[in-house]
């Protein structure tokens, strides 16, 4: 696999829109061609080399191309937007919209990711080692069609509206989430190992949501459906004893959403 290394040049003031950092676009290009790719900063169009030193060259195809960003780029948005194949490794933190609308390939963010990571994702894998912001794998504002394929792994915490409008794929969060995780989801799987604040699965009509920790405030539209030990979730078995809920009855009379919450952590529910 051919590698392209991007080294950030100093700090960035106005955020940069860099959906060109994408193996599909890099594929078949030389170092200097990659340097000349255009990014937007505010109302200005500038070459990628304004913000990065570029080393190495891309493979002939996207699948044969790996992009390594050496360092933190919290003010660079849309890295890997819509990518179909190949690999991106960000050796620090990424800005907003990393991997949004991605279709295939993989992205690894070794630090934190900004909001909208994996927004409306359709396939591929997005792994965030640190924490993620709001709207991970979510539908864009106004829409209720969120991610429908692929996998998002977050080792740390995520904030609000994780997996909003989700209609396929998987999200696994090692840490905790805040509000409205899985709002309006209709299919797919979300597993949160830690805690959630409130409105988990609000208005969900289908799909599966597992909370391994405590739900501080359970939505009123969920109906208790018994206790299960080591429930099977898709391919994997989640160990422990869980309370099972069906919902969200606030949305319809026949919702097909299932919410598992750890029995031990949620005893007062």
């Amino acid at each position: 696999m051919s590698e392209v290394i991007l080294r950030p040049k100093g700090s960035i003031d106005i955020m940069v829109e860099a959906e060109v950092i994408n193996p599909d676009i890099f594929a078949g290009k030389t170092t200097s061609e990659i340097e000349q790719l255009i990014v937007w900063q505010g109302s200005k169009q500038l070459p990628l080399s304004e913000f990065f030193d570029v080393e190495g060259s891309a493979g002939s195809t996207a699948a044969d191309t790996k992009i390594i960003v050496k360092g933190d780029v919290p003010r660079v948005k849309h890295i890997g937007h819509g990518m179909k194949a190949g690999e991106i490794v960000i050796e620090g933190s990424s800005g907003m919209h990393v991997g949004s609308e991605m279709i295939g390939g993989s992205i690894l963010v070794k630090g934190n990711a900004g909001s909208w990571a994996g927004m409306e994702m359709k396939g591929g894998t997005l792994h965030i080692v640190g924490n993620a912001g709001d709207h991970v794998g979510c539908a864009y504002r106004g829409s209720w069609r969120g991610m429908n394929g692929g996998k998002i792994l977050i080792d740390g915490n995520a904030r609000s509206q994780l997996g909003g409008g989700m209609s396929g794929g998987e999200i696994h969060v090692g840490g905790s989430v805040e509000n409205f995780a899985g709002i309006r989801m209709n299919s797919g799987l979300i597993v949160v190992k830690g805690d959630a604040i409130r409105a988990v699965g609000a208005q969900m009509s289908g799909g599966l949501f597992v909370v391994g920790g405590k739900i501080r405030q359970l939505s009123p539209g969920f109906e208790y459906a018994g206790t299960e030990k080591n429930p099977k979730v898709g391919e994997t078995v989640i160990s422990g004893e869980f309370m099972k809920f069906a919902g969200d009855y606030a949305l319809s009379k026949t919702p097909k959403g299932i919410l598992y919450a750890s029995k031990e952590a949620n005893e007062e529910v």
Binding site: A139, Y140, R141, G142, S143, L251
Partner: protein, 590 residues
């Protein structure tokens, strides 16, 4: 703008002049079509070589929601309809965004790219007329006008109920002048008023709440008023029960209401001598017939009801319909018919907005997505095409999507392709739900429309129906210099190569407006300001005075001051009023 122009050697399709693909030169001088150019005029003329290409009059859209409060609410409530569809500014053009409800600038450019030069806004709520004019004024390139929503207006319902049709006519005339509107629109008559109480009407003859007037009385009354005044366009009807299984019956019966109304077009304009009479012949123009051609009795036995409408249209000479087709994909449904949209909201749970316009009307908006896998949507697709293909006389039909209700106007090229190519229809049958095949007659229709018929459906018929064929929709001398050149050689036209048809209609080789090239192969070349057409009907002074006294009295119920009600002249950039009923004819006691 070039002063003179010659379009050489194109295959010309001009139905109002019965020109069907003849090779002909078109001459334009001072923005108007002329018989011929000679001497200096010819020497200085811009020459466009249209050899091997198709030449038609500029496109006319007679029913499209493109300006005003509800259109703008549709924009505001759908950020998801915008951020993936952005248009950058250029030296010539404005930036913009939007897919199903584009911003005004993008609307102008997109229509021009497809070869359209004239577009009528389908519904102006009187109180929102200022907003509508602001958006029409900001829409580049297009000549525009709009229809005033009057079907549930308190004054009209009161005057008609009292049997005082002269007073109602005086009110309509004053309202047209006050709001600078072009024609009369009637949406779910009697039903929208009931919607103020959470109810609707479901038949033509039930009296509505408080006013005690029926849909039949309103339709007949407004049609009569329309012809008393001699309006350019006939009554434009959005029938009751729209969007419910089995609604075709009430639509057919509604059309029959105006059968006895004598058509009387009394506009002070210079009529051109076209081969086919450019004056309208209909007393009723049914909007987006697809939504009113639902068969069955429930969503379970839902089927196309197009046959019922088509049979009636085929045997009647007082009717024109536009089809309001569904080309599949995202849409935003918006109409003055609040209860119809609420019904859809209950079915889908999608984002919904509703508004009551005080003493006048109402509206509803909902986001929507027509899916090929959905059985009902697939039948709707079939109905939209049946309505055009089964009506024998193309002069009784107009091609629309009821933008953005069935889908955006940018899907017209796809729609044209389906009615021109059976193979294209078969390809879609293969992709969509089998109900399209099983519950409509579309699969058994072999008709493939010609370029001449397309020119009727998209130019001549809409122009004649709305009463603008004295200057639009044909290429005879005296018409506006609006010409579209498509990159099709009719002698080598292959209906089976259907993706080429779509591409060709998407980007006209040239769109010419008033003798200037506005778009060329998808690129915008110039951005003139369009005109605004509106009707100025005149009525007997005495009746008008009496009527106005009553209006002023009732204005205490408005949240708006009477002085702020009219649309000021400065809202219109290029006013193009049409004098109606002037000199005043004796309308009293007619």
């Amino acid at each position: 703008m070039s002063v003179t122009m010659v379009i050489r050697n194109g295959y010309v399709f001009d139905p109002l002049n019965e020109i069907d693909g003849e090779i002909k030169d078109i001459f334009i001088k001072d923005g108007k079509i002329v018989e011929d150019l000679t001497g200096a005029g010819l020497r200085d003329a811009k020459i466009i070589d249209a050899k091997g290409k198709t030449v038609m009059p500029g496109g006319v859209d007679s029913h499209s929601h493109v300006a005003g409060a509800k259109v703008n609410t549709g924009r505001m409530m759908c950020p998801e309809d915008r951020y993936k569809w952005v248009t950058k500014k250029s030296d010539l053009t404005h930036s913009g965004s939007g897919n199903t409800v584009p911003s005004v600038y993008v609307q102008g450019y997109d229509y021009a790219r497809m070869g359209y030069t004239t577009v009528f806004e389908a519904a102006i709520p009187p109180m929102e007329a200022r907003h509508t004019h602001e958006e029409m004024r900001s829409t580049p390139i297009l000549d525009m006008g709009g229809y005033l929503v009057l079907g549930n207006n308190w004054f009209i319902m009161r005057h008609l109920k009292a049997g005082n049709i002269e007073k109602a006519a005086a009110y309509v005339a004053w309202m047209m002048r006050t709001h600078k509107a072009y024609g009369i629109k009637c949406v779910n008559p009697a039903g929208v008023e009931n919607w103020g109480w959470g109810k609707n009407v479901s038949s033509l003859d039930e009296p509505n709440i408080h006013f005690g007037i029926s849909s039949r009385d309103i339709i007949h009354g407004l049609a009569e008023i329309n012809e008393m005044l001699g309006m350019p366009m006939s009554l434009h009807l959005h029938a009751n029960n729209l969007g419910h299984p089995g609604c075709w019956e009430i639509a057919r019966d509604s059309l029959d209401v105006t059968r006895d109304v004598k058509v009387e077009c009394n506009m002070d304009v210079e009529w051109q001598k076209t081969k086919i009479d450019p004056r309208r012949t209909q007393s009723i123009y049914l909007a987006h017939a697809q939504f009113n051609s639902f068969g069955g009795t429930s969503w379970g036995d839902f089927a196309s009801g197009a046959k019922g409408i088509v049979d009636y249209v085929n045997k009647s000479d007082h009717v024109v319909i536009d089809n309001g087709a569904v080309p599949f994909g995202p849409a935003t449904v918006m109409t003055g018919d609040g209860p119809a949209i609420h019904h859809l909201y209950k079915l889908t749970g999608n984002k919904w907005s509703n508004k009551d316009i005080e003493l006048e009307c109402g509206s509803g908006i909902l986001t929507f997505n027509y899916l090929k896998a959905n059985p009902v949507h697939s039948v709707e697709w079939a109905i939209g095409l049946e309505l055009l293909l089964l009506v024998n006389d193309p002069w009784k039909t107009i091609l629309t999507t009821d933008h953005p209700n069935g889908g955006p106007f940018t899907k017209y090229p796809q729609l044209i392709t389906w009615i021109m190519s059976k193979k294209a229809r078969e390809a879609t049958f293969a992709e969509c739900h089998r109900w399209a095949q099983d519950r409509s007659s579309l699969g058994g229709i072999d008709r493939e429309m010609t370029l001449y018929e397309i020119a009727i459906l998209t130019r001549a018929s809409p122009a004649r129906t709305v009463g603008i064929a004295h200057r639009k929709g044909h290429l005879g001398a005296g018409a506006d210099g609006d010409v579209t050149i498509y990159d099709f050689d009719p002698t080598k036209f292959d209906v089976n190569d259907y993706t080429k048809i779509t591409r060709g209609f998407q980007n006209a080789a040239y769109t010419i407006k008033d003798g200037g090239v506005v778009a060329q192969n998808g690129e915008i070349m110039s951005v003139p300001h369009g005109r605004t057409f509106f009707s100025e009907p005149h009525m007997d002074d005495e009746i008008e005075k009496e009527m106005l006294k009553d209006v002023k009295e009732w204005f205490k119920y408005y949240t708006l001051g009477f002085a702020n009600y009219p649309v000021p002249d400065k809202y219109i950039r290029n006013p193009s009023p049409v004098q109606v009923n002037k000199p005043l004819e004796a309308v009293v006691g007619r």
